[in-house]
Symmetry: C2
Amino acid sequence: MFSNSSKYAIKAVLFLAVNSSEDHRIMVKDMAEPINVPQAYLAKLLQELSRKGIISSKKGPKGGFFLSKENSQLTLMDVVNVIDAGDKFNACLLSLEKCNADKPCPLHDLAIPSRSKFIHSLNQNSIKDFSNQIEQGKVFLPL
Amino acid sequence: MFSNSSKYAIKAVLFLAVNSSEDHRIMVKDMAEPINVPQAYLAKLLQELSRKGIISSKKGPKGGFFLSKENSQLTLMDVVNVIDAGDKFNACLLSLEKCNADKPCPLHDLAIPSRSKFIHSLNQNSIKDFSNQIEQGKVFLPL
DNA sequence: TTTAAAACATGATAAAAATCATATTTAGGA
DNA sequence: TCCTAAATATGATTTTTATCATGTTTTAAA
């Protein structure tokens, strides 16, 4: 479903959503271990997310990464779209070019309805929504 | 979701289900193009499926691959379990070790219910069921 | 204004997945 | 029996993904 990279990116963004703010930035080296992602790889991912405007950053001493108000209005779909290119969520499960609702492949009807629901949630819930859920103890982080 | 390899394997098995029989075997070179899979790669996959008892084969002239009655009682889950190792269908979407129904990760409840349904269908429907659906024109092959 | 701490940019290496190639074994038919 | 057509076994190559490493730029603070 998700590549390793986008799993890492999601974990990082959720971590920032819960733990960072405009004036409390977090350095790569302080989040790599808590979210269990190799530090150098995480750095690369965070830089890309930052470059694409998904997260914010500040250079130099006391610098680090954080989510702005605007950032946390984005969705996890925005996050994975930056990391994994290509429209993987709308592709046929068997990668059949011709597969569609009219001429469905054998797996289409088994998979698409539930998948659309999932995609919809990814598109509807903002990052902020997720961090709220975490803070309310409805879902859990140990990442 | 599925690796490239298991997509190929599923396509091959469905093709055999519809087109082959105990006494009408099909050669790699005659199925590679119809199902749109590189021939040498397909050969390797078919050989593995055969070795693991998912499909049947006969060597030598007039040989080829086919599904026995028993083979077609297997499920697509059996197919992918042979090709993609590891319990990928029950793993957390974020690969979190600690994620479970009691302490769900933020994506758990969005994904698991629909995913379980899909997994259930993969486990319940036999290959024969799928080829029936194809023959009845309910689902379509162009692979 | 100098120093050091941070992100940033870029490229190198490693591991995994996909693809290709080829020699060996089996079996049908002349 | 011999030839040939097929699967089988095995390994090599390529491509993609994941990971590591290192020099450059920015900026806070002494």
